[in-house]
């Protein structure tokens, strides 16, 4: 269980900024206690200070997971967000997409979102910005990358993709053994 180095913190924040922008501050400055990011076997966990103190009694190599796993660093040094980070991404997301009920299943099976499935999209969404996907009843379903900006979406034909799939809550079943 290590602190993130400066470079890695930078990479992590740059990634998070794509989804939640300046709201990262709210992840760090929380009224209910001190929270921090910790690294274990290239995975990044978002842990409260209290929990960290308790975890200090366990040998590092025996710890499988603690707090919330945000994602992992690849061997080439990039950061990949995991679906487990959705709780925080969903709460602070800047750019949102709401899905029609008919398109929910398609997305939860790991497919991209086409224009036809798009129920609503928040304004001023840029192209290739990170977006969080919600059902019409505001239940976060996953996240991805906007394939088109909001303006472009209006002119797109129904089958063209609007959002590239990155992670969805279907992974809790599909990739159960990989999630920590």
């Amino acid at each position: 269980m290590r602190r993130l180095s400066e470079e890695r913190t930078k990479v992590l924040f740059e990634k998070l900024a794509k989804y939640i922008g300046p709201n990262i501050k709210q992840l760090i400055e929380r009224p209910d206690g001190v929270y921090c990011f910790r690294e274990q076997k290239d995975r990044v966990y978002y842990v409260s200070e209290n929990l960290l103190k308790l975890a200090a009694t366990v040998p590092t190599e025996n710890i499988v997971s603690l707090g919330t796993c945000f994602g992992k660093f690849t061997k080439s040094g990039k950061f990949k967000l995991n679906i487990t980070a959705l709780n925080y991404l969903g709460a602070y997301a800047q750019c949102k997409i709401w899905l029609k009920p008919s398109a929910e299943q398609q997305f939860l099976y790991g497919n991209n979102i086409s224009k036809a499935g798009l129920g609503r999209i928040s304004e001023n969404c840029e192209k290739y910005q990170g977006v969080v996907v919600y059902s019409m009843s505001d239940l976060p379903l996953g996240f991805g990358v906007a394939a088109r900006s909001t303006a472009e979406c209006k002119m797109a034909d129904p089958i063209s993709p609007v959002c590239f799939h990155q992670a969805d809550i279907g992974e809790y079943i599909r990739c159960e053994e990989d999630l920590l």
């Binding site: 602190r3 913190t9 501050k25 760090i28 921090c36 990011f37 040094g77 900006s149």
Partner: protein
């Protein structure tokens, strides 16, 4: 004559009296191993002779008797006479003696041998002579005839396409060869040092021209740590990796240095600083966004013009209408959270 014979007999008798008999009686037969000239007496000692005053003589006699028995056994082997001496060929030894010195350790393998063993590479036998098509003769694998043949064959050398035309290709070949020889010698010494467990000082990169990327990386890592502050203030390339196995000579630049633990509020402050530096980055010119904005604005203009054309007939009335109309767009959408998209008219 008779006198002489009887004298000799008498003399031999008196001489025989001086020596003990060669016949020894034992309760149990001795065990012999003639190969090592060993006899083992399993008979018990006679307790009445074991008193301190008689002990010495008893043991002496016992030893003589047993030796006599051993010699008797030797005489039973086939003898031969070599230059006035009687010889006996001893049978192979039956008793196994423990060795005096420890068993020698097996020779440690060289690095290549170890590698070949791991990979299962077998040594192939090369023919001593091989037929050369170009020279039309048999050429040995090595030796002066080989060198001669090479010289004969390579009387002219091609200049590679992107090489310096003034470079001497022959000299290049010679240096390459001598360098190879030197490299082999170095490796040989390294193998010896490894087998004898001697520590060899690092020599750095001997030849940058054909050094492996690993060696070069090591050199970079070491060079970076070789400042007064142990490389603490050296810049880093974005994806630079540190070499392994040099931690002992680059004390400041350990590969996975654990950041020292700090209090939560300090870490929070550091994180916020990093975050600020990311969020306050001067935005690059976002072409996508700019183009989208441009398209939007031109569209708005177009639709505005349409309204103008339609309302030309109205005259002054229409102008008032225009003023009252809600501002629909101009590229900026100021709708609240609930409005999805531009209002369509």
């Amino acid at each position: 004559m008779d006198v002489v014979v009887s004298e000799i007999l008498q003399k031999s008798e008196s001489e025989a009296l001086k020596y003990k008999s060669i016949e020894v009686k034992k309760h149990l037969e001795l065990e012999y191993d003639l190969g090592t000239l060993l006899a083992v007496d399993n008979n018990d000692f006679e307790s009445k002779f074991l008193r301190p005053d008689k002990r010495e003589d008893y043991f002496l006699n016992l030893a003589r008797d047993n030796t006599q028995l051993l010699i008797n056994q030797l005489w039973e082997l086939p003898t031969e006479r070599v230059e006035e001496a009687v010889m006996v060929k001893l049978p192979p030894a039956k008793t196994l003696l423990p060795r005096m010195k420890p068993v020698p350790k097996p020779k440690s393998l060289t690095k290549w041998q170890q590698f070949a063993k791991d990979k299962g590479i077998q040594k192939k036998k090369k023919a001593k002579l091989s037929w050369d098509q170009q020279l039309q003769k048999w050429i040995p694998l090595y030796g002066f005839k080989r060198a001669q043949a090479e010289k004969e064959k390579n009387w002219v050398l091609e200049v590679p396409q992107n090489a310096d035309p003034n470079e001497d290709q022959f000299a290049k070949k010679v240096t390459a060869r001598s360098e190879n020889v030197a490299k082999n010698e170095l490796q040989r010494l390294r193998n010896i040092a490894k087998s004898k467990n001697v520590k060899v000082p690092r020599v750095g990169v001997t030849n940058p021209d054909n050094a492996s990327s690993k060696e070069l990386q090591t050199a970079v890592t070491v060079a970076k740590a070789s400042t007064a502050s142990l490389g603490k203030f050296q810049d880093k390339l974005p994806k630079e990796k540190e070499a392994r196995g040099v931690a002992d000579i680059t004390p400041g630049a350990s590969r996975k240095r654990k950041l020292p633990p700090v209090a939560g509020h300090i870490e929070k402050k550091e994180n916020l600083e990093i975050l600020d530096s990311i969020l306050n980055k001067r935005p690059k010119m976002n072409i996508e966004q700019a183009v989208a904005k441009q398209i939007q604005s031109t569209k708005m203009d177009l639709s505005d013009n349409n309204h103008h054309e339609r309302s030309k007939g109205g005259g002054s009335k229409s102008k008032n209408k225009m003023g009252k109309k809600p501002k629909g767009g101009k590229g900026q959408r100021s709708g609240g959270k609930n409005s999805a998209g531009r209002k369509r008219r």
